[in-house]
Symmetry: C2
């Protein structure tokens, strides 16, 4: 075996190493740090190449590529969305991602992103919550208790001061799983029998359900004044969670309108319905919540810059650690024009 | 460390394993087999989702994602193009690729593709040559003696009956490298001092140079009747190799016109200049070479289906071998909704 050069070896973070890294840093601490990276990157929004993700739809689900670049680093995520997978014992969403150096085009990081996407999605939600939720919010309704739910609860605890979560899912086993996982994490956990029960007294409502259809998780009469809605689950064409009337009563905030109008809750609205880009709130160019009775809605679909932030965070975090392994992924002959010679010498 | 399930483990072919596989099969044999896969996939052209590749341009080069799917498998390639890299001791082009199962969205193969791209590019060139080159062609001019050149020469030997190659490069060291690498491969190799000398007596002219600019490797008066031109190097906006007058005298064949009009030699022509899609020649729906004096031109830029074919070939070829290693790339908890529980149990 030939020894590949350093340039040919791409640091790879396996699922196992990602989990070790999370425990090394701490779940809430890591979510908070990723959120800080996202905040910092969203505040320089205009320095990024942005494009709606590139989907490959099939009757079974969707496979997407989400690239972006700030001119120095390039990142992309591969992610699938297959709601029917759960019934077959598979993940609805799996992902991996890559960072590369724009100057050379050489990859600099390959990492699992199923776990990392859960962390960055929770980080984004709570970061936006910290800008939009009512002051002194203490209770969150968590509707949909699947793979993302615990991460959401912990993120809002760490970043928005939530001390009570009220859980609801159409499947009681999912609620029981979520409640059990959140024991001894410093949260009061209430398992609820109905969505109405779950939102009782909540200042923040997070919806995160997975059906690929236009569902109505929240109806208009369920949502009182002053709440912040964090709508995560509606994230592709034909997949929404909220009744249209709620949208009409809400001040709507989005990541990247060009993508959200295709994939988010606002599919149900006119194409020119006013929305606010959340990065403008972060930089102070737009207002967030302006009064106590306002309903704020974060219509979140997930955007490539969040993955870029998470990838850069991981690249920094693994430096000097053993939470990665070098992957022999790039052919790198001594003479770059002599790829064939490299092949022959390997014999 | 937790033991990930089979579904979480993606077969990974490193550069080292790819080179072992090539030697196991044989270079010319493997190029020929990949060409057969490409031929078979091009003949079912209409069953593929096709899109021009998604580029991220910078002043230093380009990074591209090239996805495609036939509804059952999904594949994409990451590839960079940085002509300035060579002067810094790096590859102009590096690549890796992935196959996934459309039904689950789960990746099924990750592989280096720097070496594999060289093989599939040569396979595509010689496959098209087998449809378009004049009968009984025996001599090929190889202009540009970089990383792709030896693969091109061997492919045309294996698939088109070439027994003599005439090499030219502006850098004599590149020609010397190519000539040395082709010793004892059953080819008569002639190192030439000028492009005019190289094309002397050649029935096939392959151009494969790397400058990112509109260069004129061939001028009109250099190209006589009856030759087949295999133009590889012009493959992004502003990067061409042939004088426009040659194009006007040629019958032009392309992979995917939507992409070639942006990236190929035909950038220099009107947007409605007639070209023939090569898959139509393969299926018999369009004519290839129709007379001995015709100049045929394959304006090749590389297309995603070629990579898809190469990826599927590798996936089949590694079955039952040890030319890959399982990569712990996908989080796959026993209960798909219990990603957080998987994380906690890993502690």
């Amino acid at each position: 075996m030939m020894q590949p050069s350093d340039k040919a070896l791409v640091p790879f973070v396996s699922v196992d190493n990602m989990m070790r890294l999370v425990h090394h840093i701490g779940v809430e601490q890591m979510i908070t740090q990723i959120a800080q990276q996202i905040d910092s990157d969203f505040k320089r929004w205009e320095s990024f190449d942005k494009t709606p993700r590139i989907p490959a739809h099939s009757p079974h689900g969707v496979i997407e590529l989400m690239p972006t670049s700030d001119g120095e680093a390039y990142g992309f995520k591969y992610v699938n969305g297959h709601p029917k997978n759960t019934s077959e014992g598979l993940q609805t969403v799996t992902a991996f991602g890559l960072l590369a150096d724009v100057y050379t085009g050489y990859p600099t990081l390959l990492t699992e992103m199923t776990m990392l996407t859960a962390l960055r999605t929770a980080a984004t939600s709570a970061l936006v919550g910290s800008y939009l939720a009512p002051k002194n919010a203490s209770t969150m309704a968590m509707i949909g208790n699947g793979a993302q739910s615990e991460f959401q609860c912990l993120a809002f605890k760490a970043m928005c001061g939530i001390d009570t979560v009220r859980l609801y899912d159409t499947d009681r086993n999912a609620t029981a799983k979520c409640a059990a996982n959140l024991q001894e994490r410093g949260l009061t956990v209430v398992a609820c029998q109905t969505p109405e029960d779950a939102i009782e007294g909540a200042q923040i409502i997070t919806t995160c359900t997975a059906d690929k259809k236009n569902a109505t998780i929240l109806t208009d009469n369920m949502v009182g004044p002053g709440v912040h809605i964090n709508a995560i689950g509606g994230d592709c064409p034909g997949k929404t969670e909220l009744h249209r009337d709620i949208l009409l009563r809400s001040e709507i905030f989005v990541e990247y309108p060009e993508q959200t109008r295709i994939e988010g809750e606002i599919q149900a609205l006119e194409a020119d319905h006013p929305v606010t880009e959340i990065w403008r709130v972060m930089t102070g160019q737009a207002k967030g919540r302006t009064d106590d009775r306002q309903i704020t809605l974060f219509d979140s679909v997930g955007f490539a810059i969040e993955d870029f932030s998470a990838l850069r965070y991981i690249k920094n975090a693994i430096g000097g650690t053993d939470f990665y392994e070098p992957l022999d992924m790039l052919a790198d002959p001594d003479d770059p024009r002599d790829l064939y010679g490299m092949l022959m010498r390997a014999q």
